[in-house]
Structures are given as C-alpha cells and as structure tokens.
C-alpha cells in the first residue's frame, strides 16, 4: 500500500504472509510513514518506525512460542495477538523478560502496554536496540 509524507513516498511490497521467514517487506531506513492493511480492521494507524528485521520477528516468535507452550501446529504471525494466544498478564511479563534477556535491552513498564502482538514487540526491540547503539 502507498502512503505519502512530506518528505518521502514509500511502498510496502505485500501484506505479511503467514510464513514469517519469507517477509515481503523491504527495510527502509529512517523516517517514513507506513500504512499496513490488517485483516478485519482496515488500516492500522500511521507510525514513524522502521519495520523490524525478519530475524527479530522470528526470535520474538520463538520466545512467545516457548513461553506459551504453543503446539507446533499453532500458526504464529507478526500480527498474532498475545491475548488471543492465551497469554495472561504473567505470561506477557515473562515474554518481556525473555526478550530483554535475548536482546540485552530494558523495557519500561509504560511501553509494555504497547506490546500486544509479535510485531509490536519486534518493533519496540529494534527501537531500543538502536537507541542503545546510539547512546
């Protein structure tokens, strides 16, 4: 889908496929506006962030899968909501802890309400990792 900002025009190649290892997205650096079509709910609101690397998304999926003890046949996509996967608050907190350890970052509690899906977790991780690298 195309979206226009004052400074750049960016395209996302395709919606997320269910196979997380073949992402149709391209990594575009610095600021951009992204419009992502989500199933059932039209467009997600605009955010100025970079899309997380596929490897990051994959690691998040692995941690989530382990924490929630999901059977292998359970499909896990970037859009997968933790609550829909059966995560309660303790699970979410443990997932965040697992992510902090894996990526050596620190997630503020205030941000944790923004982590409701795999994609949101991956995006936040990349933001924190980048911030840490710049510090």
């Amino acid at each position: 889908m195309a979206s226009v900002s004052a400074t750049c025009l960016c395209l996302r190649a395709s919606p997320y496929s269910s196979n997380t290892t073949t992402q149709g997205t391209r990594r575009i650096s610095s600021t951009k506006l992204v419009s992502i079509p989500w199933k059932n709910s039209g467009f997600r609101s605009f955010r100025i962030t970079c899309a997380a690397k596929p490897e990051t998304v994959q690691k998040v999926c692995d941690i989530v899968r382990k924490q929630l003890a999901l059977p292998p046949e359970t499909e896990l996509t970037p859009a997968s909501k933790f609550s829909a996967l059966g995560a309660d608050s303790l699970d979410t907190v443990e997932i965040v802890m697992g992510l902090e350890e894996e990526f050596d970052i620190s997630v503020e509690e205030e941000s944790s309400e923004n982590i409701t899906t795999v994609q949101e977790a991956a995006d936040l991780i990349e933001k924190l990792v980048q911030k840490k690298a710049e510090a």
């Binding site: 059932n40 382990k66 924490q67 359970t74 499909e75 909501k81 829909a84 996967l85 059966g86 309660d88 608050s89 303790l90 979410t92 907190v93 443990e94 802890m97 697992g98 509690e109 205030e110 941000s111 944790s112 309400e113």
Partner: protein, 315 residues
Amino acid sequence: MMNIRCFQNNFSAASFPLVPVQLPSRMETHLWYVLPNEVKSMSLLSQYSELLSPCEKEDINCIRGDDLRKRALLARALVRTTIARYQINNQVNPSSLKFRKNAHGKPEVEWQDDDNLCPVPLHFNLSHTSSMIACGVTMNVAIGIDIEEKQRQLKNNVLAFSRRYFSPYEVKILTAISDPEIQHQEFIKLWTLKEAYVKALGRGFSGLPFKTFTIRSKPATTGSFNLSEDFVSKASEIIVESSDDPENLTNEWQFALLELAGSHYAAICMEKDKTVGGEANTPMKLTVWKTIPFIEDECVSGTDAVVAIGGLIKQ
C-alpha cells in the same frame, strides 16, 4: 441460595432463566467462577455463543485453538450472565448488555440510557486461567480480581523475576524464604495481589508499574469489632504502600486473598466505601458461587472451596 441441577438439554436460554440475585451491599464482594472442564456440552456452548455481541463473536473467531476459544467464550458468557442476574432496571437478558472501556481502558457496563437515569454503580472485574474463569462484582466501589493456578510454573527464576518487577521490600521478603516451594507459593500470592490492585485502579500493569508500590501484611488493629471464628485466624490485614511515599499509607483499598477450589489463589482488591461509617478496618464481606450459567449455581462460601488465607474477610 438455590441449588439448581438439571440435565443438559436443548433448553433455550429463555426457557431456563438465570436465578436472580440481590445486589451486593456496600463493602461486599460477590465472586462467581466457572470451571471450563465442567462445561462440555456443545449445545450449552452454542447457547453461550448466542449471548455474545457481534464484536465479541468476531474476537473469539480470531482465536486459534479450541481450548482458548472455549475459554474466551466462557469468560464473556460468565460476565453477561452474572450481571444479568442482578436484574438492574429489570434488565434480565444477558445478551442485551453493552460494554465499553472507561478512560483507563477498564471494561465496564454501558447501561441503556433510558430517561437519563444515572448510571448504575455496579462494578465488575474478570480474571481467568486455563482452568478457571472468575468474575467479581461490587456496588459503588471499584474492584479488581486476579486468579492464578497455585502450581503455575514460571519460566524465569522467582527471585530474578521479583528483582525485575517487585519492590525492594517484597524482594527482601521473598529472598528470606528458603523453601523453594513456599517461595514459589508466596510469589504467586503476591503477584495476584499486585495484579488485583492495578486492575481495581483500572490502570492495568503498564499504568502502574509494580515496582512503585509494596503489598504486605500487617497485624490488624482490633478497633471496634470483636474477632470471632468468622475471621482469618491470623487476623492480618493486607495493605498497600506507595514506594514514593511510604509514610502515607494508602488506606483506601481492602484486600482479600483466598484459595479457591483447592487449585487457585484468588486476590480481590476492593475500594473502601468512605460513606460507610465506623471503623475503617471492617472486614470484607464475601460471597462466592461456583456456576455453570443456566445449569447450576452453588454457593460455596464457607466451604472447603473457599479458604481465606489473607486479609480480613467475613464469609
């Protein structure tokens, strides 16, 4: 309290109404719980489905996995049927209830605004595990509940987890426990109490970081009531203190900690009703029902299914 047993059949919801219940009084909590493993009938589950709004049905359809879907369905059915029992404004149909989120994102009932009636001050809060779904109800005061399986395993080490999320005082208390099983139990109890508190406040985990407050027990002051067998034998009160301002005891919240159905810890946090006169340390009156909506309700207060383990509680 009536016990109603019947064979699960193709009764429609309308032909087997919910047993009505009186609203809780001030300083009283009602707790309703359902055990998903006891709900097996497909026709009953589809009756529950019929109670849901289109949005709720849609949300449930997005969930993968039969058990998870069933749990989500039972949670909505429990909330709707529980509130319908109180027959507020003569509204008895669970499927006609509307819900919304308040400014903090906490779910609440959106009462039909006929004749510009004041909103009914009924409060509720839901919690679930894989083997139990519970709904707490109060009048006039805010409520938060949290349940956890006693045997729930943590992926992380208890102390590492506590150091990351709990207050220094709480970490100290947990570290001092040498028996790992007891340490695990105390951790789960503390977690449920902290969760219940932030849910009562309506801010949730991210709205009020767990490190910013301490929950602990303190021996109750006897005040103006006489201790009797109704009360927890240790008669300890559970209190919450803000880490920023430990001298200022947040005396507005009352806690109860229970062992439920032998398998779960349940924490209830209820706002104290300031309009009720008398000693501030009045015990929380608690009534608990085990239910299979439309099929069976059993009042289990005072039985083995409800064991008070913390806070001042009167069953």
